[in-house]
């Protein structure tokens, strides 16, 4: 009885944390160049959710200021946790190196929306400030359903 309670507590993670728990998705072979295997694993990661962030640390505990700023922006924008996945590159050196080659982008974090590379922290922040990011996230329908307009639309569909 007691142990079951503990188990269920462990399984109950905050919604935002759940995708980040997908950690052991690559073996730790130290490859210098992007192998087919790594590429396929990254392909899979990129398509694991509509919004995917490769970051240092987890959404709850970012290990770098740029990753922190990026996750804060996505939070402020109201990205639906169910449509979001984060991958911690610090837990997998092959991912950490491979994602740079995969995206042809030298730094982390890296944001993908609908499998398309959006950019790193500078781009995420500037798109947030200009309103472009809000527009893109809305177009891609990846925001948490909160606003009345969307809720009404959903309700209308059901009727």
């Amino acid at each position: 009885m007691f142990s079951r309670t503990i188990l269920s507590r462990q399984l109950l993670r905050p919604a935002f944390a759940a995708p980040a728990a997908r950690t052991t998705f690559l073996t730790s072979i130290q490859a210098r160049f992007l192998s087919d295997q790594t590429r396929q694993a990254i392909d899979k990661a990129v398509s694991s959710a509509p919004v995917v962030l490769f970051m240092k640390g987890t959404p709850e505990t970012p290990q770098c200021g740029f990753s922190r700023a990026s996750i804060q922006v996505l939070g402020m924008q109201g990205v639906d946790p169910a449509k979001f996945a984060a991958f911690n590159v610090l837990e997998d050196n092959e991912l950490r190196q491979g994602i740079k080659e995969y995206s042809d982008w030298p730094t982390i974090p890296q944001l993908y929306i609908d499998k398309e590379f959006v950019g790193g922290c500078d781009i995420i922040v500037s798109m947030h400030q200009s309103g472009e990011l809000a527009k893109l996230l809305e177009e891609k329908k990846v925001l948490a359903v909160e606003s009345e307009g969307v809720a009404e639309e959903e309700a209308a569909k059901k009727e």
């Binding site: 240092k56 640390g57 770098c64 200021g65 030298p106 500078d122 500037s126």
Partner: protein, 109 residues
């Protein structure tokens, strides 16, 4: 090849390789010379979106960025730069988002 990277060397590289008309480079490493943020003004950015501009810079500084721990950039055309300077009273500069008071925190590249 393993030449040390400085604000000056980055500035010179961008002026040379991207025909940048104005470059501001700021060390955000807190002294170790491993992290830089920059404002780059170049006519080569005209007609290119943000992602393409950053890719251009990343390509121009491929070796440099690979050697340092953090890199941040703001890419403007000369016209955008002038407009922003006029709008902000000359207050335009390298981005410091994600830093703590202009210094990088956390795990390196």
């Amino acid at each position: 090849m393993a030449q040390s990277i400085t604000e000056d060397s980055i500035r010179a590289a961008l002026a040379d390789r991207l025909k940048a008309s104005h470059v501001e480079v700021q060390d955000m490493s807190g002294g170790c010379g491993q992290a830089f943020t920059s404002l780059i003004v170049s006519p080569e950015f005209v007609g290119k979106n943000s992602l393409k501009r950053h890719r251009l810079v990343n390509a121009a500084l491929k070796d440099e960025i690979a050697q340092i721990h953090a890199w941040s950039a703001k890419c403007q055309t000369p016209e955008e730069y002038e407009r922003e300077r006029a709008a902000t009273g000359g207050n335009d500069g390298p981005p410091l988002d994600g830093t703590a008071g202009g210094e990088v925190t956390g795990v390196s590249q």
